[in-house]
Symmetry: C2
Subunit: 251 residues, 2 copies
Amino acid sequence: MPNLKITLAYDGFDFHGWQVQPDLPTIQGTLSDALRRITGETILPQGSGRTDAGVHALAQVASCAIHSSIPPANLVIALNDILPPAIRVLHVEPVPPDFHARKSARAKTYQYRIYRGDICPPWLARHVYHHPYPLKEDAILAAAGQVVGEHDFTSFAAVDPEKGCEEEERSNVRAIFTSQWQRAGDELIYTVRGSGFLHHMVRNLVGTFLLVGKGTLKPDDISRILEVRNRSANPGATAPASGLYLVSVEY
Amino acid sequence: MPNLKITLAYDGFDFHGWQVQPDLPTIQGTLSDALRRITGETILPQGSGRTDAGVHALAQVASCAIHSSIPPANLVIALNDILPPAIRVLHVEPVPPDFHARKSARAKTYQYRIYRGDICPPWLARHVYHHPYPLKEDAILAAAGQVVGEHDFTSFAAVDPEKGCEEEERSNVRAIFTSQWQRAGDELIYTVRGSGFLHHMVRNLVGTFLLVGKGTLKPDDISRILEVRNRSANPGATAPASGLYLVSVEY
């Protein structure tokens, strides 16, 4: 029974997140339905992590074992024929039996897009966080590096750990390899690459960096908040889902 | 009673076109509702033309007379507070009493975006026409210029003239100033600037150019089809609304 690695992109706006839920459109559920229509098998592909409602993916990875011997290139075409245009399968490849999209992942990269112009173009409204208010962008850029390295990110994790992306891991220690803000035209974009991410971690990091931009926090406060290991000690809000993209998963 | 020129952008996907219709979301109806909430007045802004369901605008222009003396800059902010994110007012300015968004228009520019890649990114699905099939793009580029000049465009007009953008003008003669296809990354983009456009004219031009790309028509056939002045003599289909953008209106 071949094990498959499925790489897919999606616009998360119309979905209640990755994880299958009864009677609600989800990415996992929609992909599972499409696989069943093609193969006749009941298959629940396992994602590299659960993206929340409204979060997008440039290249989410899922894995599943199937009995059908349909060639991978044909499966890409068949899936894209059935799936809604908001979900596109980019690539399917056979992988060794022990490959698991979540457990085998070694690093993930996320981006967060903030639109800084006064008026957000209609075609970007679902795909960015529109924040036209004054920000000390230099302070945000300077603060970004403070989370690089291995840290306990409890202060940046959702308080509901059972709903986390990687809830089976008890520890809240994660390694961040890259953490960088940059201006690109009218957008301020955060790129973060790490060994893994707790539930809401990227959106909470963004919310906290925004307080640095507003002057409520100083760049140094990020390190202090990390050390406290308590979400209540972090005044940063969870930034909206619309701006968040899972960019890639490395194995 | 000041006469106002309102410039607005919209994502047409969720709307039943520009023109107000009972119990259906339209751009004109939504804008009219927002103006009534702000001013207390019943105002039906007149557009430069009626865009069809699913057609987008980078800068549609509407005009209306209002009694309220709200400063234009404040009206922009108030309208964008009320309107859905899919409609954004870019600019409001006072204009002379005889200004009329449609009657005063001297030229319009449209663009049509065709996505040529095998897999259409989810965030472009509503905003392009996905056409991954083989096309002789050189032939399309070469044919584009054939419609430049003053012509009777009956062969490229919808057969329902009463539903046209500019139905009060009996003549189907229009002047085309620019007609150009170009490759931009994974997209093939048509730009057309003219004195005015009949109903479905740009989408029918695109559908006919696509037949040139498929080899069904030769580039020279475009001139021949123009001369016949009969929609039935044109085998080109009406290209989907999702790829069409009203780019600008000149006065």
